[in-house]
Symmetry: C2
DNA sequence: TATTTTGTGTTGCATTTGCAACACTTTTTA
DNA sequence: TAAAAAGTGTTGCAAATGCAACACAAAATA
């Protein structure tokens, strides 16, 4: 919210030093395709998008998914060789600029400084969410992945509740497991008395 | 190398505004235990360390591993409730400071600006490595994880070589798979004519 | 509102993976 | 240098997971 406001302000102030380009993407539209050695940075002002990788056999996997205030771009995948594409899941407002341009600027003004601070904050958040994701993905079983996810989302101890914001399909993608296997495992957790499920509410029972 | 030099310089220049604390840790020593709501940031100047999580049953898993110029700390795990500990794998030189202190500073001087730029660069690299890791961990099978790892480490196409820097044990931990199952899968890849292994060199054959 | 698309729960079966145990090699430590 | 510790390769077996297929529910779209 606040970041959105700040960025709009900066777009004007930085117009001559560091042009921030803005665009709206419709659902299903391709926001960007990652190109090695390019250094674009995108900021998702609103909406939701997925980073998708197509395999040789035509199927695809979702490497990452982005929400409001998320930051992405080929600049963060320097050594990549695969076809990586960011696709809008909903209507998205996106801001982007070239990181090389930012680095090349020698004159420091206050707006630029402020912009760097915003970027700093966005990167900070990005590291946190990536760390969380890595902590979940390193778990060996679906059960452990689920419990770790519930924990990171509110169900920190006995009696605490995790309110699911993702659909089960999306949750399975996020945990990178088979959807039906996950569905089965949630049932096991309930049968074993480890969790309780009421609609989108998961309660920890241990 | 350069960052190390820069940071030593800044330690002196920032002594009064933002004290950067430095310490050497011996192998096996605990560098830090993550505490919720604290905001320490650590920079690994030299050495190697693991972020370790102990389970209820006493076994542990390695959530992340850090190398030279890596950045870590509880500040990046705001919602965490588990016991997370960073343990030196080798002799480590570590620099740390409190992020809240950095945020609270109102006077801007050049050294501080320079320090922020270094931090920016470190965070940038951190996002890249975490993105790579996530791209690997989202792969469903050991085979795909291995191939993605080889790709990110040099074996980008037919005939290209990935030189392994990790031991097989460590690689299995990094990919978050069972070591012996990974060993078996490497053999399968060789038998299927997909890779060639010569010592620590993996060559892509497709 | 009717129709299409997407999400959900369930199942049997094949495959993959983890686990445990062992021998052997290499590296580290005393 | 000898002894201990850590790393590696291998195997059978059990358990977990993926996959495919299906019916049905819910949501999005025309």
């Amino acid at each position: 919210m606040e970041i959105r406001y700040l960025l709009t302000k900066m777009q004007k102030e930085l117009a001559t030093t560091l042009p921030l380009k803005s665009r709206i993407y419709k659902k299903e539209e391709t926001i960007t395709t990652y190109i090695p050695n390019r250094s674009h940075i995108f900021i998702l002002i609103s909406g939701e998008a997925d980073l998708v990788q197509y395999d040789l056999n035509g199927s695809f996997s979702i490497i990452d998914s982005f929400k409001e205030n998320d930051i992405f771009g080929d600049v963060f995948y320097p050594s990549n060789t695969d076809e990586l594409t960011v696709i809008a899941k909903k209507r998205c407002q996106v801001l982007w600029f070239d990181y090389n341009l930012l680095k090349s600027i020698t004159i420091q003004n206050e707006s630029l400084q402020e912009f760097k601070d915003v970027l700093f904050q966005l990167m900070f958040n990005k590291i946190s969410t990536l760390n969380n994701r890595a902590a979940i993905l390193t778990k060996r079983s679906i059960r452990e992945k689920l419990l770790a996810y519930f924990e990171f989302n509110g169900a920190t101890q006995y009696g605490k509740v995790c309110t699911l914001t993702l659909s089960y399909s999306d949750l399975a993608k996020y945990l990178s497991v088979n959807r039906s296997a996950m569905s089965r495992e949630i049932n096991n957790l309930i049968e074993d008395g480890i969790i309780k499920k009421e609609g989108k509410q998961i309660t920890l029972l241990y």
